[in-house]
Amino acid sequence: MCECECGCNCGEPLKLGQKVPDFTLKTYEPSKGDFGTFSLADQMARKRWTILFFYPADFTFV
């Protein structure tokens, strides 16, 4: 069980059906040609779905 009760599962990777703890990422935003931030809290406030798409490194294939 998670002792800190933050829902983070204390280091265990998230499982399906779990609430994702809030996170913020620094971003490059091609649509604006500028840097920005992305946060799950913003997405939830705007009632938007999120698809997180991880990949090993820039300059590699999809």
Binding site: K19, L25, Y28, F38, I51, D58, V62
Partner: protein, 131 residues
């Protein structure tokens, strides 16, 4: 569609900019490119590889309530199929409104045949999909 894609790697936002500007295949890319320099987010989703400091090819669907509804993780040498990702996202979106239904493997879009799990469906999936 009420959905935002954000890509994530352990590169910096500056490298993201350089890659986006130099790779011709990325010139139409409009989604934000996130930087997980510490690997904290990659670890949270179980896709961080300690040996390399890189993330595996993981895709995660999160609904507007912040609940994790989809996980797909490939090793770093297998690419992902965007059609299948969009199928899973559309199914999740549809099922958020039609909570008693289920989308079978051949479901592609609204209007396609769905299943309604329950006692009547037990042993009758073939009939339900083919009648």
């Amino acid at each position: 569609m009420g959905c935002d894609v954000v890509t994530v790697s352990t590169d910096t936002k500056h490298t993201h900019l350089a890659w986006r500007e130099h790779e011709k295949d990325l010139h139409r890319v409009a989604y934000p490119m996130g930087s997980d320099g510490t690997g904290a987010l990659s670890r949270m989703f179980g896709v961080y590889e300690d040996e390399t400091g890189l993330a595996f090819r993981g895709t995660f669907i999160i609904n507007p309530e912040g609940v994790l509804l989809g996980i797909e993780v490939n090793f770093d040498n297998v690419g992902r199929n965007i059609d299948e990702l969009m199928r899973k996202f559309k199914a999740s979106l549809y099922l958020s409104r039609k909570t008693s239904e289920a989308c079978p493997s051949k479901w592609k879009d609204e209007g396609d045949k769905t299943l309604t799990p329950g006692a009547k469906l037990v042993g009758k999936v073939h009939e339900a999909l083919n009648d």
